[in-house]
Each structure stands twice: as structure tokens, then as C-alpha cells.
Amino acid sequence: MTPNLLETLAAILLGAALLIALVRFVLGPTAPDRVVAADTLTVITTIAIAGLALVLASPVYLDVALVFGVLAFVGVVAIARAIEGGRS
């Protein structure tokens, strides 16, 4: 599938969203800021993988997006629970 103008614009916006969340991740002053930025990056990346499945026109990549969403959620929750359990 060749992308037209609107789809290219959507892809550019998604890439810009990734980069802006990355900026917050790099300069976020405290550790919780970085965890929140990583969480947002997870969801944006799930959307981006679904978009890549559209570009490559193959439903196999949707499975990747599904597995990614499930397990990244587990990772973020593990980090959050560990912050909570590890407080002194």
C-alpha cells in the first residue's frame, strides 16, 4: 500500500510524538517522569506498529502489536509495583 498525503502526515505526526516523548524521557527531571514517559512511549509504539502493519499490508504485524502491548504493560506495572514496595 502506497501512502497518500494524509497518511504521510499521520506518520510524520506519530514520529514527532515519539521524538517529543523521547525529549521528556531524556530531560525529565525525576525518575517518575521517566517512567511516565516510558509508559506513554509504549502506547505510542503500539500505535506505530499497527500503522506499520498498514503500510506493509500484512496482518502478521498486528500480532506483534498485541504481544507488545500486553507485555510492555506488564513491565510498566512491575516497575511501578517495585517502586511502591521498595520505598523506605
Binding site: L9, A17, A21, V35, V36, A50, L54, L62, V76
Partner: protein
């Protein structure tokens, strides 16, 4: 048909962009969680609806991804917020003293 699908895709990525922008501009952790979670979740909703309009034979798997994102994204952000709150990070207050409500703020849970 393709035009409508493209509009949904564009709205979805625009909301994802706004969520990232909110993540960058908000002053403290709680507001960042709010901006990020809400906007990115609606962005995922619109983007996946657009994808389902573009490739109608994929609707089942797209519905799975959508349901999963709608279900887990608030859970993970609430968990992070709870961990941060329990470890004693106080919410940011506005500069002006008359707009800082202190009556409803609970203090007994802080370590």
C-alpha cells in the same frame, strides 16, 4: 471510504502528538500522567478505527488490541500515580495563593 479512514488515522496521530506535547509542557508528574494517558488512549482509539476502516477484514484483531489498550492504559497510569503518591511526591500547586485549595488534601497516607 479511504478518505474517511485517512481522516481517522490523522485524528489518531494528532491526539498522540498532543499527548506527547502535553507530556512535555505540563509542570509536574501527575499532570503529565493525565495528559499522556488520556490523549494517547483516544489517539489509539481513533487510529485503530481508521485501520479497521482501511482493512475491514482485520477487525477482530484490531478490536482485541483496542480493547486491551482501553483496559490497560488507565490501569498502568493509575499504578504509577499510586506508587509515586505513596512515595511522597506532592502535587504541584499553582503560583497564586488564592487558587490553591488545601482543605480536601489528605495527609494521613504519607510516609
Amino acid at each position: 471510504m479511504r478518505l474517511i479512514a485517512d481522516l481517522f488515522l490523522l485524528i489518531g496521530s494528532a491526539f498522540a502528538f498532543l499527548g506527547a506535547l502535553g507530556l512535555l509542557r505540563m509542570p509536574d508528574v501527575y499532570n503529565r500522567i493525565q495528559a499522556g494517558t488520556k490523549a494517547v488512549t483516544l489517539g489509539a482509539l481513533a487510529f485503530l478505527i481508521g485501520a479497521a476502516l482501511l482493512f475491514p477484514q482485520w477487525w477482530a484483531k484490531l478490536l482485541c488490541i483496542l480493547g486491551f489498550i482501553l483496559f490497560t492504559s488507565p490501569v498502568s497510569s493509575s499504578t504509577i500515580a499510586r506508587a509515586i503518591y505513596l512515595s511522597g511526591v506532592k502535587p504541584w500547586q499553582a503560583r497564586a495563593p488564592e487558587s490553591g485549595p488545601v482543605s480536601a488534601e489528605p495527609t494521613e497516607g504519607r510516609p
